[in-house]
Symmetry: C2
Amino acid sequence: MQTSSLPFTLRQLRYLVALEDTRHFREAAEACGISQPSLSVQIKSLEESLGLTLVERGRGPVRLTQAGREICRRARDMLDAGQGILDLTATLQTGLGGTLRMGTSTTLGPYLMPHVVGDLHKSHPELRLYIREAAPRDLLRELNDGVHDLILTQLPVAGATLSVARLFREPLGLAMPVDHALSAVDNVDGPDLTGQTILSLSPNYALHDQISAICMETGAHVSREYEGTSLDALRQMVALDMGLTFLPALYVRSEIEGRANDVVVRPFRGRRFSRSIGLVWRASSGATSAFEGLASAIRDTARRFPELVLEG
Amino acid sequence: MQTSSLPFTLRQLRYLVALEDTRHFREAAEACGISQPSLSVQIKSLEESLGLTLVERGRGPVRLTQAGREICRRARDMLDAGQGILDLTATLQTGLGGTLRMGTSTTLGPYLMPHVVGDLHKSHPELRLYIREAAPRDLLRELNDGVHDLILTQLPVAGATLSVARLFREPLGLAMPVDHALSAVDNVDGPDLTGQTILSLSPNYALHDQISAICMETGAHVSREYEGTSLDALRQMVALDMGLTFLPALYVRSEIEGRANDVVVRPFRGRRFSRSIGLVWRASSGATSAFEGLASAIRDTARRFPELVLEG
DNA sequence: TAAAAATACTCCATAGGTATTTTAT
DNA sequence: ATAAAATACCTATGGAGTATTTTTA
C-alpha cells in the first residue's frame, strides 16, 4: 500500500546516474541534454530532499560519496525497471504480451486450448494465458465482473457492451450406444430423431438450449430424468443406454476417436446442427487489436481440424 | 548505460497504482491528496505517453485493462524500490549502513579487523565492510584516488584535505631469538639496544621510519641486508638469528602468544616506542559523522585489548 | 437521469536556460 | 590563475485547482 509520494523524481535519479558515469557535472549535463547549472540544481535538490551528501565536490573528476554510491546503485535499478515498463509497452502495443486471463467453456476449452497454447507459445512467446474453465452462463457474468479479460464461448451472447470475434462453427454429432439402430446410418437427418430420448447438459450451458431447440423441431424429447454437468458424463450415460445426445466435434476428436469405444457418433447434415464459437470481451477493454490477434491465432490452430468451419 | 529520459513520472505511476487499489478516480484522487480532474489528466497523460489504454472507463468501479495491470505491477515494483531508497536514506543519515570500502595497513588490519568485524555485525547489521590491505604509503595514494572511503593506518598522515580520527596507541615490543641475552630483561629500555642489529620493513611502511628513528636514538643500527615485506617475514628472520626487530602488540597477541614460540617479545618502556593508529578519510567525503561512528566502534573493540592505549 | 469521469481554464511551482560569481587546487 | 561547479535570476512547461460539460449504464 504505497500511497505516499516520494521526495525525488526519476529525472533526478537519472542525473545522479549520469554524474556517476561521467564524473563531471558538465559532462553529465551534456549527456542528459541540459545545462550544467540545471544539473547542479537538481543534484543539490536531490541531496537536500534525502538529507545526504551524495557527491564529493572538488577540482577534477567528482566522486560519489559512499551514500551516493548506494543510492545510485538503487537508482539504476529503478531506471532499469522504468525501461522495462517501456519495453513491455512496445510488446503490449504491437501484439500479444503479458498475461491474459481467459475464460473458456468446459465443453470446448479442454479440447481446443491445449492445441492453441502450443501454437501460441511459438508465435507469441511473450504471451501467457491464464485459462479458467466455467459454464457459459457463469463465464458471461464473470466477464462482466472483470474476472476474465476475454472468454471463449458459444455464440450468440447478449449485451451491447460486448465485442465478439467469431471463430468457427463446430458440428454436433449424435452419440448413441454401439448397438443402436441409427448407428447403421451414415448421415443422420432430423426426422431420424423422432421419438428418441435425448440427454442434455444443465441449463447453465448454451448447449442445453440448442439441444432443446433441435429436439422440439425433430420430435425427439429431452430427458428430464438427468442432466449432465460434463460431456464425459453425457457420454457415459449414453453408453449406459439412458438415451442419445449431441457431442461437439472437438470433444469427439479428443475423447472418443481412437479412445473411448463405448459410444458411436454419427454426423449430422446441415448447419443447424452445429454450434458457433467465438471470443468475447468487454468493448470498453480497449485491447481490440490484441484480442483480434488472438482470434486470428485461434483460427490458425482451428484450421488443423477439418471438421471445423472457419468464420469471422 | 541508461541516459535516455523516461516518458512518464513516478507521480503518474503512483496515481495508476492508487487507481487500481481504489477502483475509482475520485477515491484514488483523494488517496493521493489531489482533485479528481488532476488525477484524470495525469492518467490520461500516462496513457498517451505509453500509447496504451490502461483503464476501462465506465459507470461504477473502474478496471485496469490487461495492459494496465501489467504496467501497474511493474509500477508497484518501481515505487517499492523508491521506498527502498528512502529507507536506505534513513540508515545512511543516522548511522552506518551500506557498503564501506576500507583500506587497512597489512601490519595492523589482519590482527585487529577480524575482531572489529565481528562486533560491528552485531551493533550495525546494515553495514558491510569491504576491506582491502595495502602498505600505508599505497593506502594514502589509493585513498586520494577514491579507491577507499577511509583507511585504517598509522599516524600521522600528511594532507590538509584529510580528516583523522585517532583510535589508539599500539606499543611496539622488541622481538629476539629465544636464547638472546636480552630475553632475561623484563622491561627493555633504550640503552639496551646499543650495538644491536635491527631488522625493518620496506620504506613503504610507516613502521620503517619509526624503527629507523628509534635505532638512531638508541645507537642500534638498521640492517641493510634485508627488508621484510610482512611481519611474519620479520619474525622468521629474527628466529634465524639475523637480528632483532620491533613488532606491534596486536601482531604479538595474534601470532606469537600461545602460537609461535620461535621468538621472544619483550615490552618497552615509554610512549615513544609505540605507534599511533587512526582512521583517515577525505575531508570532502561528507560522511564525517558516520566515520566517527565507525571510529567509536573500533575503539570499543580495542578496549578488549589492555595493551592498547585509547585516544581520540 | 444521476453518478462519475472528462474537459476548459487559470494559477503557480518548478525545471531549465543564460549570465555571473564562487570555489578549490 | 584557472577550470569547474554554485548561485542568481528569468522563462516556460506542466501539474493542480475550480467550474463545467460529457458520458454511460
